[in-house]
């Protein structure tokens, strides 16, 4: 598959209060971004555990994005600090077991940063296109 025709699959976990709202605002503002992303709503980025990320990779995601409120701005005070700690650890674990940590993107996007959401999705999609399909983490038992 050539780079141009390859369309990466991105699973994004967006916190309800900031990033999901930011994505909504991107819609309201009619900002355009690639169709590759599928957003899953979570109450807070700290709800996302490693199992969900790994399952997404097993299932055929080429990239996973976790987006939450900016540090200090968490709707639940401290949730994104847990996310930050947990995802730093997960990234190093991914490298440790031989998987790529570049395919896991953690980003802080507030409810009014529609443009930041758009740019993030555009950039991540472009990067994943360059990286190509991600077969290494696939679990064939999950194959549909």
């Amino acid at each position: 598959m050539t780079q141009d025709s390859f369309e990466p699959k991105i699973v994004a976990f967006c916190c309800n209060w900031c990033s999901y709202a930011g994505a909504d605002l991107a819609g309201t503002g009619r900002l355009k971004y690639p169709e590759n992303i599928r957003i899953i709503r979570v109450p807070c980025s700290s709800r996302v555990d490693a199992a969900l990320v790994l399952r997404a990779f097993q299932n055929g995601a080429d990239g996973v994005m976790i987006a939450g409120c900016h540090p200090g701005d968490c709707h639940y005070d401290t949730g994104n600090y847990h996310t930050r700690k947990r995802m730093v650890l997960l990234k190093s674990l991914l490298e440790f077991i031989g998987l790529s940590s570049d395919r896991l993107l953690v980003k802080w996007i507030s409810g009014n940063e529609a443009d930041r959401f758009q740019v993030t999705v555009e950039r991540f999609t472009k990067e994943l296109k360059q990286m190509g399909a991600y077969e290494k983490a696939r679990d064939l038992r999950c194959a549909k």
């Binding site: 699959k9 699973v11 309800n16 209060w17 900031c18 999901y20 709202a21 994505a23 909504d24 605002l25 991107a26 819609g27 309201t28 009619r30 900002l31 355009k32 971004y33 169709e35 599928r38 957003i39 899953i40 709503r41 979570v42 109450p43 807070c44 700290s46 709800r47 996302v48 555990d49 199992a51 969900l52 399952r55 997404a56 299932n59 055929g60 995601a61 409120c69 200090g72 701005d73 709707h75 639940y76 005070d77 401290t78 949730g79 847990h82 996310t83 947990r86 507030s110 409810g111 009014n112 940063e113 758009q118 999950c142």
Partner: protein, 658 residues
Amino acid sequence: MKIGVFICWCGSNIKNTVDVEGVAQSMRGLPQVAYATDVQYLCSEVGQSEIGRAIDEYKLDRVVIGACSPRMHEATFQQLMVSKGLNPFYVEIANLREHCSWVHTDKEKATVKAIDLVRKAVAKTRHAIPLFSEQLDVSKRALVIGGGIAGIQAAIDIADAGYPVDLLERESSIGGKMAQFDKTFPTLDCSACILTPKMVEAAMHKNITLLTSSQVEGVSGYVGNFNVTIRRRATSVRAELCNGCGECITKCPKKVDNEFDQGQSKRKAIYTLFPQAVPNKPVIDRDNCIYFKTGKCGVCKRICTTGAIDYEMQDELVERAYGAIIVAIGFDLNKPHHLGEYYYGQHPDVITGLDLERMLNASGPTNGKVLRPSNGQKPKRIAFIQCVGSRDKHKGKPYCSKVCCLYTAKHSLLLSEKSPDVESYIFYIDVRAAGKNYEEFYERARLQGAKYLRGQVSKVEPLGDKENRLLVRGFDASLSEQIEIEADLVVLATSIEPKVDAKQLGSMLGISSDQYGFFTEAHAKLKPFETQTQGIYLVGVCQGPKDIPEAVTQASGAAAKAIIMFNKGQVKSVPTTAIVNRDLCSGCMQCKSACPYEAIGSEQVAERLAGQTRQRVVATVNRVLCQGCGACAGLCRSGAMDIGGFTHRQLLAEVDSL
């Protein structure tokens, strides 16, 4: 289980980019999907009754909606479920508008994505569990933070409804920015004449407690039950003993710049904020008081006949419970030192609009006379410059400060009334006079002789003559040529900005702010008073630039919201709380340390194992305190913690479906 899938056209909003019939069609074969269709407007009465009809006809017990963002209409569809006798959490919404049709243009690709999103919602709803909220009692007392006109109005309205209110103000008197103004547009009412009665009404109201010289130190709790720690700063004057005679102020030997007059006059180290201050009790400015700096002096204490001066007074921390919090902290005005072209801070005759306002005020530094700060002479020609730092992202703020056009028109009118020979030149980009009687007011200013010059000012510089006048260079877009005005006084309409420490208060309250620092309302159109944190409301300029009537309107609106809650007496708790699976819980209690609401506790359970009874510790969740963030569920090692509405099974099903 029977799932019904409904895809909304949203008129053309979704239908133009997504093949809605195709999406509905592709859902029909999915397991447990008993019915799938597309409807023109699901949120309309017709759409709602179509869902209701299908629920009855096909005996549906789960509903999947493909429509706008769940943040928009989730509650609408949940109510419909309740009216059909179903649990509100048996409805799931796929965001086909904000996350799909509005952000994509390729219909084929958008339809593929839409199918994925709806299939994901179907997968999630298969694992939905019924959720219920609990009723919580509300503490029927409100805290209003900020004693400007907006805060005062909100406090009076809540108090009039019969509920106690604490009105907190950082300064030693309530009144806020409005107390500094001379006249108000468009009626030219004297600002103090309409504000002072309100201040007194608030102070005398049996349901209002004034907490002046106070600030918020910490906030915990949730809607209906906030706990706020308030620092009551030591004023060094016992308010209960002071009779307000003012002798201490007269005799105090220390003079410092008077902030209330924008530094254009002096005040004493023991002072009241302004002559009509409420409460009218002086306070000691410890940073400048000779006694506090050197240990000598003590004049005020010696002459006070009631023994009200208390140098030993300490800051006091009080903790109080409130059901609702109203944030009315107001704004700051920019000091444009960073914009060198206006020569502000380098020449005394370049002043801000508020500086001029104080001069115009009869109780201000010049007793109502407009004088050049450099030599105390009457100016003959004044140049007003609009949008200083506003409406230009390269100079500071892209937004419009909203009130400057009208207050500048007011200034030119007041000046022409005081001395008809004064010339006013007003450099502007556009005149924004939207508001009742505002356009007429602006017209009046023009007819009275104000010379409006459409164009921006490029430079203000000293003219170098013996009167030390200023040269204002600008561009007149109507004539399409450069113009120069020789002015005695230059008045800058500087931008309205959030309070410097607004962010700090925001994070204490758990409310967010926009890129400029103004607090964000829950919905730009439909929830202008509410914040994302239930029970906390916004009023006044801390939410965005607005004039006095708008601030007052918002204050009464927010007050009504608080009153409604107090009237009900109860609020519903969040239904999507944490759930412990006791069989899996190992009692490590890591969840407890992650919980920001102290909602997690522990208890001993007894189990029979291999013929023996064994004690074991498991986590418990206080469903009233839990707000459902899921930090505990995200870190639980044994997978024993879950969040209603976002369970492991539901999220995994969503991931698996993609």
